[in-house]
Amino acid sequence: MPSSSGLFKKADGRDKLHNGLEPAYLAPVHIIRPNRNIWQRLADIWHHRELLMFLIRKEVHLRYSNSVLGLAWSMLNPALTLAIYWIVFEKVLRNGIPNFVVFLFAGILVWNLFSTSVLGATGTLVANSGIVKKVAFPREILAIASVGAASVLFFFQALVVAIGLIILNSGPAWGYLPLIPLAIVVLLVFSTALGIFLSAVNVYFRDTQHLVEVMMLALFWAEPIVYPYKSVAAIFANHPSLFWLKWIYLANPLAGVVLAFQRFLYAHVNAINTVTHQPMAILPTRTISSYAELLGIVLVVCIALLIGAIGVFAKLAGNLAEEL
């Protein structure tokens, strides 16, 4: 047993009792009420930010634990995927878009962060029911940690894409680089909002998890990831009565993020079709400020969604421990 003499000394120089405890009347009082409002919850989350870091580390660590290559998989996996897509789309399935693999990966980078975050967050409260039932901490942290762990993997994937760009000798449009941090913020806020909302709903309706998996497939094809935005824009242009569909398409926060990534990484707005040798439009011919404007609007919407998600979570949080 260690000597207990040094055990309860505190580093700061505040008023102490002889036993090392702060005088009781100095300790802050907290009140447990049936409901905590959104601002109290946000303060709680901020207060537990170190716990968030530990949970992110845990998630990343567990993903690759017991594998020989460990964290190297987080780079090997996208590298191999990139190689496979290169063989398929440059040699076999030529769709006419030059350097299609770069185009594809600009979108997939965004998509992987989003889908890994949301799918992870949806199941996280149920998967961690052991601690939700026995330990008090703001439960939103678990969903945020899923987004955090996905961000770590995103970082490694982005490194692989950067190396891929060098190997394929494809230079990005450096002038559009300032869009990327903004796009990442939009992506993180949107993923967190959906993740927090779905994590709580999944406790009450366990089907949510399966439903989300199907919705993800639909959402994937609703983004201009595999096909260029201009090909859907052409459909909207040919059918003026469908103009409202264009706004629904762009109202989806991910579309703006994907377009920004493509504008920076893929760089070509127009290109010569490699099969038909005709000129083709790929990305919207907009200025950087017009892209930034779209992302700015989307960011405001996403922040509103996040506040709404925490509000819903707050309503459901009181019964989480007993529903699990």
Binding site: L7, R33, N35, E50
Partner: protein, 252 residues
């Protein structure tokens, strides 16, 4: 709230919904829309308790009397349905030793994760790390994955982390009933140390003898309400006679 009070529970009630069958899928919810059969069950009704700083309160009662629910409300794991609880200072709740341990992580990583879950900052954990390891007597195994630990080692590590949170209020739920005798003695001596330091403890048990050893006051719950709130020897006597209908083990 007076300055010498650590816990003030006012008018606290907690309602549970007991579903006859739990419908958690969309299909079942849809089929049974609006008429999901459940009964309302008040696990706690109008509880008013005040605990002075430095007191060790025993929460006694039979199974299902609501003592663990009350403890979980104090720990803010469950939120009350009505009423409120005011608590002064930091709380550490020991509902299960090693709750949240990750079997795939090492003992070292688990100390950080668990300490952080219990509200310690990274700096505080680094500062207390050696003491935690020494208290758990796991120096040799601290870098092994926790899945290789025996259940005794697991509990020692869990208790070691929890008591080093240095809370103003410690909530304990029967965790001392486990472990071998030397571990129990160690836990008891740690609790004594806490008492000497003037910390407040709430201890849930259904064993009056253990409560008598540790507590100086007892609240006895019966069907979710406070049946008795008295000093420990008086309370356990009445508890045995009127509720458990057993004889005092050590008549003194």
């Amino acid at each position: 709230m007076n300055s010498d009070v650590t816990i003030e529970i006012s008018n606290l009630s907690k309602r549970f919904r007991l579903y006859h069958e739990k419908y958690t899928s969309f299909r079942e919810r849809f089929v049974h829309a609006g008429k999901i059969p459940y009964e309302e069950f008040w696990a706690l009704k109008d509880i008013d308790i005040q605990v002075k700083t430095g007191e060790t309160l025993g929460l006694l009662g039979r199974n299902g009397s609501g003592k663990t629910t009350l403890l979980k409300c104090m720990a803010s794991i469950l939120l009350p349905t009505t009423g409120e609880i005011a608590i002064r200072g930091k709380v550490a709740a020991l509902l299960e030793l090693g709750a949240g341990f990750q079997p795939e992580l090492s003992g070292r990583d688990n100390i950080f994760l668990n300490g952080s879950l219990l509200g310690l900052s990274r700096k505080e954990i680094v500062k207390r790390f050696d003491e935690i390891v020494a208290f758990s007597e796991l120096e040799q195994f601290i870098d092994n994955q926790v899945k290789y630990y025996s259940s005794g080692m697991y509990m020692r590590l869990g208790f070691a982390v929890a008591v080093h949170v240095e809370p103003e209020l410690l909530l304990i739920d029967e965790v001392l009933a486990v472990g071998d005798e030397s571990f129990q003695l160690k836990c008891l001596s740690k609790i004594e140390q806490f008492q000497k330091e003037g910390r407040t403890i709430v201890f849930v048990t259904h064993a009056p003898d253990l409560a008598k050893k540790i507590c100086n006051r007892a609240v006895i719950l019966e069907h979710g309400t406070v049946a008795i709130d008295d000093d420990i020897s008086q309370a356990t006597k009445v508890f045995r006679k009127d509720i458990l209908h057993t004889k005092e083990a050590d008549e003194d």
